[in-house]
Subunit: 348 residues, 2 copies
Amino acid sequence: MIPLLVPDLPTTEELLPWLKRIDSNKWYSNFGPLVQEFELKLTKLLGSNLTTVSSGTSALELALLALDIPSNSKILLPAFTFPATVTAVKSVGLQPIFTDIDPNTWLLTPTIARQVLNRVSIDVIIPVTTFGHPQPTDEWDKFSHDTGITVLIDAASSFGKQPTGKHCIVTFSFHATKAFGIGEGGLVVANSAEFIEQVRILSNFGFDNGVIIKAGSNAKLSEYQAAVGLAQLERWAKISQKRQVVWDIYQHYLDQEILQNMPTNHIPAILSVKVKDNSTIERFAKCQIQTRRWYYPPLYKHPAFTDVPKFAPQANDYLPVTENLSLLGIPFHTSLTESDISYICNQL
Amino acid sequence: MIPLLVPDLPTTEELLPWLKRIDSNKWYSNFGPLVQEFELKLTKLLGSNLTTVSSGTSALELALLALDIPSNSKILLPAFTFPATVTAVKSVGLQPIFTDIDPNTWLLTPTIARQVLNRVSIDVIIPVTTFGHPQPTDEWDKFSHDTGITVLIDAASSFGKQPTGKHCIVTFSFHATKAFGIGEGGLVVANSAEFIEQVRILSNFGFDNGVIIKAGSNAKLSEYQAAVGLAQLERWAKISQKRQVVWDIYQHYLDQEILQNMPTNHIPAILSVKVKDNSTIERFAKCQIQTRRWYYPPLYKHPAFTDVPKFAPQANDYLPVTENLSLLGIPFHTSLTESDISYICNQL
């Protein structure tokens, strides 16, 4: 069986120096020295203010909570994304609205957002970096500046590949299945130090100088998870290199027409290809190649979200691109060999 | 300086066998083999159905969410507790109500709850195991049976010391500062396997057979945190023994009158003693002994909770016990020596 995902995380050997630091610090959570060092290194890497949290979902939830907007505020997001994008909106008591995606990049684009704005008022937009495709930060910055609408980019799968710009807030996931995985963890990045401080406060129940001004939750990263993060940072260049090799081989074997329209020199986080029908899925299963239909079914077909309003960029509430996208996620990880990849591509 | 808290967590050496299992499993979250083994061992220890989650706060949030009650439901809790008890209620969109505590045990007791019920209708009660004082499970079971009201015991500090009974739901925290600490983690325990399954589903976004029926969050425990938990379970008997020794010495030196009324043969989680005024706090500071006024100020004095209704057991909305309790948390951990303890007690 060729597995769909094989996480590439630090070995025990690579964790040891960090774990020994925990032994001597005797500090295990609550913004300890390893979390501080991890955040410092991430700040240098990303060049922006940031705070770690317990997951990519917590990152979205706390970023939305830190916006401090009324509970009936309307949040626009694509119907084609992982369910956490919408559960986060619902968890903090805001009103999600689904829209469609671009047929080539599979993104909720600024163009789509502007079209939807002609039909309904929106308070926050959550564009998603679908399968690792970066969002156009400059365009969203301009959009945010022009409209006054907050843009929160759900870059769960795109650690290190999605710039923050001047206005956009960006969240990342460090889940085991991500290119930069640590087990469980997340990150909120923003230009505003004040906003980031607010998220950090909310990740620690809302404690601000000993009292709770606004109720938060517990979304702190433990020192153990920070240890994994610090060890993973040292492996990150090598992981990226290995993913580049896998991607180069895939590009050699794959027909461009079945691929997501991706910027050149960009490695996808997840590899999903267009397929004609279910026969491809069955063929892969027979060939012992693990696959997954990522983000399927569309969010509006999950029982929990059937009541979420849908606004298409054009005149109706039917989202044709999301509805008709027929994709199949195929193996994409650093353990794949050239012969694995050629075997996989032969089935397409 | 004698520190207030020194976590007693596994060393790197003790973690190694579990970490090596992660290396070979290459499974890092999502109910992996270590989480499964940790839960199995906890089940044998506690004799009830349970599921691990990412923190004691998540445990409360998801247990409340899994009750599936209307958003205007009223949740009674003591005003004298850690803020997470009330942030959890607010986070899931329910209506908290504060009441008072017993002057001797510092608990919200079934007697207090029955008195409050004569004044206001309540849907769920969250009694807290204040400073590790267990709640009377049988009495709460009878209360729940008599009134039809759900009882959710916030036993954050009381791992292994608070039975579930027939009806009560119990949550625990594995935070680093707890007697059984793993860094960050939590546990929901209940008699009903169906309820526990619902909590587990909600801890994984709400995924139930591939679709979301009810929106949850991500509160899964990573394999790394489970590794710490498994190593900690092997140390648990020894930790409890060491805490017993510290407690015996304290009992020898301390005046019973300034102590919480605690069942005999029970080790407190946190040691808070009655003090007359601020001069004691200042004296401790001068003597280089770290202290903390736990749960101070009372919840209704935090800006985020001033709008929470207060119902005293008797006729008014003034909570005299909570309001007038003058306590000081003093060092209580396994690193204390007899001379530390005698020095601490000399200052009282």
